[in-house]
Symmetry: C2
DNA sequence: ACCCAATCTGACCAAACGGTCAATTTCGGA
DNA sequence: TCCGAAATTGACCGTTTGGTCAGATTGGGT
């Protein structure tokens, strides 16, 4: 591994579309490897995944994968990194100046949508935590913990203003996370029970609707109808 | 592998306490291996687990493990089998002649208790489904699907009798399963957020209480207080 | 046109792992 | 007591897998 990071001096305006042929090709290969890796790690876990399979799925020789990412573990960490950034950003709508009803239902809808659109990401994350989060101990203890502390403050604020009944905020998030992510992580079980070859959009929306109803009613919040939510969104 | 199944002719009254020394020792070894295997499969997944580690944890030579169970896959299936039997039996309280409120809260309490007492079992099961249930496709499509159909009928019956609001029964179970099992499968994340070295009894009961509250309120059922539930239990 | 660094890749290697086996020991029945 | 089946175990084997490397190729700067 030599100077992969030594930007050549002629690099154009910040990796713009005018990047050199070499750079474009490299970025394309890295992206293909990361996508393939996410899928393979999701399906087989860290130990079950092999760099050979990842390389084949990315249509590259195995040595190429190691040229770009060094070791399987480093590649795995890069895959995790991509997933975590999206994870943390997903709760931005839970702010003190939002309405609890729409904040919760939007958050739940976004989480279920993530399970639908990025099932591999969810599975990689689930697998990592299931096995003790050897790569994420710091992340959980710092970022996620702070995230929950912040959101708990928002919820306490809503409670103080009489907008909802008191709830145990951390446990509320544990439930929301598990219930929404189960549509990605355990899709196999859900498909078997529902007799589906593949989960359909209405399956996801039925799940989101039930989870929302459970959260809102437990918090003593009147449910927001779809049309009212749409109207509210348009007003902004 | 010779006649391990050839019961010796002197076998006493159905494996009773008077089983021969050999038989007792064999059963003890098998049990130790199964327990060790459950733990190792939970921590490392199927591919990450090695028969050497399982053997070490059972304090037996590796060849002994293969003598009893043949292959790693057969051992894994035996571990799964044990887990599934307990899983199916856990919903026995959900019957048409039960009260919805106590049936749900008992079921949720039992599920959370299972997460507390048998976290390894839950993790092995979660790992299997997460990776597409290669060993459980039939089980999910037959036993679990039938289980849900049965319980859905019970719930519809309760709805028809005006005991609760209509809900999407399958999705209700998806939520209950994921929310209760998350206390075993994702304990690592929960511990990080709650700043715990280990989860405490009150953490599990807080989770169970919230899940129960969410389910009951979503079903339009008044909550059963602990004391009332105890009284009801005593009356039986 | 020419050079050199970046990139690419087939071939290879050592370690780890699942599984086997032959040799030995342990028991239970006669 | 003695025999044979069951049980035990250390040593061994073929395969898989993560990772390496030397040599070939490519492309951009001059």
């Amino acid at each position: 591994m030599t100077g992969r990071n030594t930007r050549s001096s002629n690099v154009p305006t910040l990796l713009g579309p005018a990047a050199s042929r070499r750079e474009r090709r490299r970025l394309d290969s890295e992206a293909r490897i990361l996508t393939a890796a996410e899928q393979v790690f999701a399906e087989a876990g860290f130990s079950g995944a092999t760099t050979a399979v990842i390389a084949a799925k990315a249509r590259l020789p195995k040595a190429n994968v190691h040229y770009y990412f060094g070791t399987k573990e480093r590649l795995y960490r890069r895959v995790l990194k991509r997933i975590l950034d999206a994870w943390l950003a997903s709760g931005d709508g839970i702010r003190a100046d939002a309405e609890p009803a729409s904040a919760f239902s939007d958050y739940i809808a976004a989480k279920v949508e993530a399970s639908r659109r990025q099932p591999f990401a969810s599975k990689v994350f689930a697998n990592e935590i299931l096995h003790g989060a050897p790569q994420l101990t710091d992340y959980l203890a710092e970022q996620v913990r702070r995230w929950v502390e912040d959101k708990a403050k928002v919820i306490d604020h809503w409670v103080a203003r009489g907008l909802m009944r008191p709830v145990d905020a951390p446990h509320l998030f544990f439930v929301i996370w598990s219930a929404t992510q189960t549509y990605a992580d355990f899709d196999c079980q859900i498909r078997a029970v529902l007799k589906r070859e593949r989960l359909r959009p209405e399956d996801y929306s039925a799940g989101a609707a039930l989870i929302t109803r459970m959260v809102l009613s437990a918090c003593g919040i009147a449910e927001v109808t779809a049309s009212r939510a749409a109207k509210r969104a348009r007003r902004r």
